[in-house]
Symmetry: C2
Subunit: 364 residues, 2 copies
């Protein structure tokens, strides 16, 4: 047993790798390392750059390669992680391999208490593009949910996982309740959600921030899940007991790749389980949950990184070759390059973010 005691500083991160640019593990690793985590990095692909460029070279790794990696770690007693992070996986077979790994790690735990903190980012698609992974991936992610600690779907992914469309506050709560009750997920963050104006007003949220910029809305909820004989039990939770928090923060114009991956990484790196259910143990105080605090810090770091990225976009544009006569593909490449996150230039924002956007209880 001693050999399986989790090492308190080690995170296993399973995501894609690009040689150039910052998505997947390239977006997650440096920030987590900067926060002091020993990140074990399993790459699910090796591409020259992210596929948004339109042109790239490289390989998706198959499930056998990843299984071989996990077996190698296991043989050396290295599968002793206190935390785990998964993002984009290139095939249903790879997701299945990771599911087997998580099941094995959970089976080795005596109980949930002090066990692996697994942040599952169920990367499948978004509202703009729809599903961009094979449909066979969905049921495997649905099975994986009961082994996760924290999930960070966007609206599209939360809808896909539960089969419920989020069209208003009622359906949003139904989605969260389903993730807690049916899928037994302790901590849910829906990273961005759109609600009708009336529902925004009802929860005290705005369409635009004080400075006039369009506002994004993130919501989250936690729920204690009990174990019996190592199995998660369906929590005794009804809609009226749900405690949902929200954070609003500025929408950054245009699309930056790797933002979701970095949010998931920072949230996991900033999460402290201690006092996790304080707000529910003592309803009167309504303190923020640890996951809401982690999200505040993650959003603060990300806003800083995005701000650094936007600041240099103009400069990079000046340095780029004249675009006259460039074809459409080259324009796209240049646009993608300009929008790569300024990660190594943002040490301060990662280590000591300034929290501007605060979480608050919905309806409070």
């Amino acid at each position: 047993m001693a050999a399986n005691v989790p090492d308190p500083s080690r995170i296993l991160s399973i995501q894609s790798h690009v040689v150039s640019g910052y998505v997947g593990n390239r977006s997650a690793t440096f920030p987590l390392q900067l926060l002091g985590w020993d990140v074990d990095v399993t790459n699910t692909v090796q591409f020259s750059n992210h596929t948004g460029y339109g042109r790239w070279g490289g390989l998706r790794f198959d499930a056998e390669h990843l299984q071989d990696i996990f077996d190698g770690l296991d043989k050396n007693g290295l599968l002793r992680y206190s935390r785990m992070l998964t993002g984009y996986m290139p095939s249903a077979a790879v997701v299945q391999t990771v599911l087997s790994l998580v099941k094995k790690l959970r089976a080795r735990e005596g109980g949930e208490e002090g066990g692996l903190i697994y942040l599952l980012d169920p990367v499948m698609g978004d509202m703009g593009r729809g599903m961009y992974v094979a449909p066979e991936v969905l049921p495997i992610y649905q099975e994986m949910l009961q082994y996760s600690t924290i999930i960070t779907p966007n609206q599209f992914e939360a809808q896909a996982l539960t089969g419920i469309d989020i069209v208003d506050l009622v359906s949003l709560k139904k989605v969260i309740l389903t993730l807690h009750k049916k899928h037994k997920v302790p901590h849910v963050i829906i990273t961005s959600v759109e609600l009708p104006d009336a529902d925004l007003a009802a929860i005290g949220a705005q369409k635009t921030l004080a400075d006039g910029r369009p506002a994004m809305l993130q919501v989250g909820s936690s729920c204690e899940i009990h174990l019996e004989a190592g199995e998660r039990q369906e929590p005794n939770l009804e809609e009226e007991n749900l405690q949902v928090w929200s954070i609003q923060f500025p929408e950054v114009q245009g699309y930056f790749s790797g933002v979701g991956d970095m949010f998931a990484a920072l949230t996991l790196g900033r999460f402290h389980r201690e006092g996790q259910m304080a707000s529910q143990a003592n309803g009167a105080t309504k303190d923020l949950t640890p996951i809401a605090k982690a999200s505040e810090l993650a959003i603060a770091s990300l806003q800083g990184i995005l701000s650094n990225t936007c600041k240099v976009i103009d400069q990079i544009e000046k340095d780029l070759p004249d675009s006259t006569g460039k074809d459409e593909a080259q324009e796209k490449v240049d646009r993608m390059r300009r929008r790569e996150l300024r990660v190594v230039q943002s040490k301060k924002e990662i280590e000591s973010p300034m929290i501007v956007y605060r979480a608050r209880w919905i309806g409070s």
Copy 2:
């Protein structure tokens, strides 16, 4: 042409990747990122852990995969590096692919001035273990030398590259001269070298440091190489004009993997070309060369990291399962785990190293 102007903050690093532990790119990347470099990371293998453990899982990537990566970068105008670092490569075919890449990058340069700074660490073997790569690799590295800016062979590798055994100060100088003259390498560092006692005394070096610890000896030398029509010319240099510096620093007992990889990375990250030949332009001052200054900083960081690593070895030993009845293979695994470099825990030592061990001119 503008599209090929090197980006001043970008390093391409081509090395091995391990999921757990710190060798190859895993040893090089975080320190370089911490120093502010945008490191583009090309992995030549993905293993669960380094092979010193005796057991591992994973793959060596083939030359086609790497060529595909380089082609992908090129198509997107991303092959615009100001610096490049190569370490262990898993096959002669991969070394050949990297040679083609370097030739292409050099061919695109107008001249050496302001061109790519390429640190080639010709990882082939060491004095203890001999050659641990395929012998076909050697002639490809020999051809690669003329495209490098800095090389960091150990004694075994310097001997293999030149075909000259280092048995005394005379043969050491012959090796360095051969690397400068025949192979046209501007900056040579032989990372550790053993000399007879009399020769050590002759250059003012010690077998042991003031505190009684055994001393390692590193030597280096720089030489201006001129270009004609893009081709490096053999420098007009004789043994008596060689200016060799040395640094002595404590030998850390036992073997730590990834130290050579990190030394190479830190040396490249700390190297500033400005004023590079000051000492030769103004012989009287005999200021240290930029490469000697870079090595001082790299050694200072490494000594700090090794010290942090040794400090926790005792603690880790306590936490490890009782070794009674463990087999030899398990003992080896545990030993390797204890000796993984404490990289993310050594931010201070990487960012602000304290220089204790100074370079000095040999014979001065």
